[in-house]
């Protein structure tokens, strides 16, 4: 393993400059720019086909960019591949292991490949960290999906990386598994000081841990910034549970709040309103014969994200 | 050319045993040629057969160190040394750690055959030469109709009744020619004494010799054209003859060594 260098706080761990990846005529990533500072947890979001996985694979050198530059720890893969990979741990897509080997054998093998000095000891330590102690000698083929996800997290920590790239780590986990995964990510970031790049469709999980956000769509960066700042700057979402929601939306769009409302996937009416506008909106609905059952004021990542993508896709 | 090849080939085997004797034989036989020609004129077939029978009659038990070299088209085998045991009438064994190619008939078969004159009748066919030696040619024909052998031709030195060359024709295996070489120029003075050759050269037709094509075809070495070229190019013996030369160093003659050997073998 190459010698480790300490990362100064707020130094740039990942910097993507005009990153492009073409698969034949299809452009998966189209001039993507983003930065990740040391010590943060970056939520890497985007709809299916947005180019998230391709970008993450480029980050760990599984895929070579067609154009653009990618710097990790200020270095690029062309000249410092091994030095960079010695500082990155990743769990890309699903955790795949040699099914004919035990969990411990799998970790030991990968630890050796990572240049870990005491592979067995380190593997046992991490099996304990991810809560798989006692299952060391079981074949991976006997593991549930959740256990494999935990083992996947363990394998990416074998060489004590500075940057941990996690692609959908919560896929297939039960609620308790999701909570445990969240706790482990927070532990890695807060207790062990690791920088984390997290891609997930579980927006509530991302919201719980992310300090920074990057949203990509169609291979481009839609927005990047601190999670706190992005969520506070955005308009507050008011969720109104109302009878005949579709008719209510039509009415609102025809009136003073044209374009401000939409129906979410549960059929609820959501509107981007200032706090002072809420009583007027409720009154408008009741006066027009709609029954308002509940009003919820919230600013969740999910709403922010959906709103952002709607706007972006409408603009395009 | 062929004669030279044969001479070289045979010379290899006989070198250890008869190189010096052969020279002496050549010189003496040239001197004796005029005498033997005169003697053959007065000899009839019956007398010659009787003398041959008398010489062969005492053959019972032989042991010899033998050097064998086979020269067979499309067969490559190195010369080898072995021990030979022969017990009359037909027990023959070559004791060798190596594989050996020998004629189907055992080397003493002719002597054994000559012991039983009731099975054949002889006819003198005139004079001939074997190498530079004068000989009379004696043909033996079977008296019975159901014999496998059809004709035996012998070239015999008339004065000593020493067999110089023989040719046996069988229905089953065709014709085998044998040339007899002796270290001593003169046979034993006792007319009943064994006169065994020091070297024997068997020669037989091998033009019909075939090896299975399925096993010889080598898919990976060149094209079938190459294989065909190779198959039509014999390794040795361009005249299509197979030859086996045997050089003997007699260990025991009629002293029971072979009998003891076969007894041990049976017991073993």
């Amino acid at each position: 393993m190459s010698p480790r260098t300490l990362i100064p706080p707020d130094s740039t761990v990942v910097k993507a400059v005009d990153l492009v990846k073409d698969y034949g005529a299809f452009r998966a990533v189209d001039g993507l720019n983003f930065e990740l500072k040391a010590g943060g947890v970056m939520g890497f979001l985007g709809p299916n086909g947005a180019g998230k996985s391709t970008t993450l694979r480029m980050l760990v050198d599984l895929i070579r960019p067609s154009r653009g530059e990618l710097f990790l720890f200020g270095l690029n893969y062309r000249s410092h591949r091994q030095q960079i990979l010695a500082r990155i741990g990743c769990l890309i897509e699903k955790p795949d292991f040699y099914k004919y080997l035990s969990a411990l054998q799998n970790l030991e093998l990968l630890a050796r490949a990572s240049g870990v000095k005491e592979p067995r000891l380190r593997s046992l330590e991490l099996m304990d960290f991810v809560g798989l102690n006692g299952r060391e000698n079981d074949k991976v083929s006997s593991f549930s999906h959740g256990m494999r996800q935990r083992l996947g997290l363990a394998q990416c920590l074998l060489h004590d990386p500075d940057l941990v790239v996690l692609d959908e780590p919560g896929t297939g986990l039960d609620p308790q598994g999701l909570i445990d995964m969240r706790e482990m990510i927070l532990n890695l970031n807060r207790e062990q000081g690791k920088t984390i790049l997290l891609s997930s469709h579980h927006l509530s999980e991302v919201e719980a841990v992310a300090t920074d956000l990057v949203v990509v769509d169609r291979g481009r960066c839609v927005v990047q910034g601190s999670a706190k700042a992005l969520l506070s700057q955005s308009e507050r979402q008011i969720r109104i549970t109302v009878g005949r929601a579709t008719e209510a939306l039509t009415l609102l769009n025809a009136g003073p709040w044209a374009g401000g409302g939409r129906l979410n996937d549960r059929g609820e009416l959501t509107m981007a309103l200032g706090r002072e506008e809420v009583p007027a909106a409720v009154q408008f609905l009741t006066q027009n014969g709609f029954e308002v059952y509940a009003i919820e004021s919230r600013q969740k990542l999910e709403d922010y994200y959906m709103n952002l993508l709607n706007h972006h896709q409408t603009e395009r | 050319m062929f004669g030279l090849t044969r001479l070289l080939f045979f010379g290899f085997v006989s070198f250890a045993f008869i190189s010096t004797g052969q020279q002496a034989l050549a010189q003496k036989s040239a001197a004796a040629a005029s005498v033997s020609t005169a003697a053959s004129a007065t000899m009839d077939a019956e007398t010659l057969v009787n003398r041959l029978v008398q010489r062969s009659a005492s053959l019972r038990d032989l042991a010899a160190e033998v050097q064998v070299q086979a020269d067979v088209p499309r067969v490559k085998i190195r010369p080898l040394s072995a021990t030979m045991h022969y017990l009359a009438p037909d027990r023959f064994h070559l004791q060798s750690p190596r594989l050996a190619l020998l004629p189907r008939q055992n080397p003493m078969e002719l002597f054994e055959f000559l012991k039983r004159p009731q099975g054949y009748r002889g006819m003198l066919m005139g004079e001939d030469k074997v190498g530079r030696q004068s000989a009379v040619q004696l043909s033996l024909l079977p008296t019975g109709a159901d014999q496998d052998w059809q004709l035996i031709r012998l070239w015999v030195q008339p004065t000593s009744a020493r067999i110089l060359q023989a040719e046996i024709t069988r229905r089953s295996t065709g014709t085998v020619q044998m040339q007899y070489f002796y270290r001593s120029a003169n046979p034993p003075t006792d007319p009943a004494g064994l006169d065994l050759p020091d070297s024997l050269l068997f020669e037989m037709d091998a033009s019909s010799l075939k090896l299975p094509k399925a096993l010889t075809a080598d898919l990976h070495r060149g094209s079938p054209r190459d294989a065909a070229k190779s198959a039509s190019r014999p390794l040795q013996a361009p005249d299509g003859k197979a030859r086996v030369a045997m050089g003997f160093r007699w260990i025991s003659k009629n002293q029971g060594a072979a009998a003891r050997f076969f007894k041990t073998q049976k017991a073993g």
Partner: protein, 280 residues
Amino acid sequence: MWWIALRNESVKILAKPRSYLGFLAITLLVGVILLALALDGKSYIEFVTSSLQQSLTVEGSMLNGYLVGFIVLQMLVVHLPLLVALVTGDLVSGEAAMGTLRNLLTRPLSRKGLLLSKYGAAAVYTLVLLLWLGIMAVLVSPWIFGVGDLAVLSNEGLQILPSEEVLPRFLQAFVVAFAALYTVACLSVTLSCFADNSIGPIVGTMATIMVFTLIGTLDVALFDQVRPFLFTTHMAAWRSLFLDPVPWGDILFSMVLLGAHWVLLIGIGLWTFERKDILT
């Protein structure tokens, strides 16, 4: 690091049940051949020498352990490429299909180093498989049938080699056979770099061998120039070690040509793997 990667590859091959198929197949096939020859070997010898035995007789037993070993080698060297490809064709593409290639390629190990360790592991596997065949052919057969001079049939005819020369020739033949089989291994690992499934490289390797063998066998003048340079033409070069005299020039040419195939195939593999996008 290369040694560590090689060790890892060896651990995987050892743990994979598929790796033992080759050993099992060889054991079974050799068992069948030995049984058949023990029961009916004399007929086999008679068939081979029937023409010879019309006027000559072979003193001593042609059916000995060395001949049986040679027959075993001759029969099984045809099957070994499949057994080799079965494992080596899976070394890259199998991992790609399983998804484990991602784990490996995100380790601080160069792609070249990783792929070379796979070529190294392929060499070790080929060698061990060949050694197993060697043990079965050259140790087990003589143990059952005894030893003696070796009678070998070739295009040149029947050659009988003294028994004391046979073992050294077998050893040299194994070196040449290894060179040929490792070419197959290199081919399948290289094809494996192009694929993301296990079957493709195995089928590809066997198809290549079949096509090249066909080209080598068809008596068409067009192929005459190509034939000496096909690796399949030299797959049985080991048999030349049993000719007398040994055609060292031909064997050297075969070894150089097979070595050139290694270099070419490994070069293609490295070039491809270095640029390969891991999408699985």
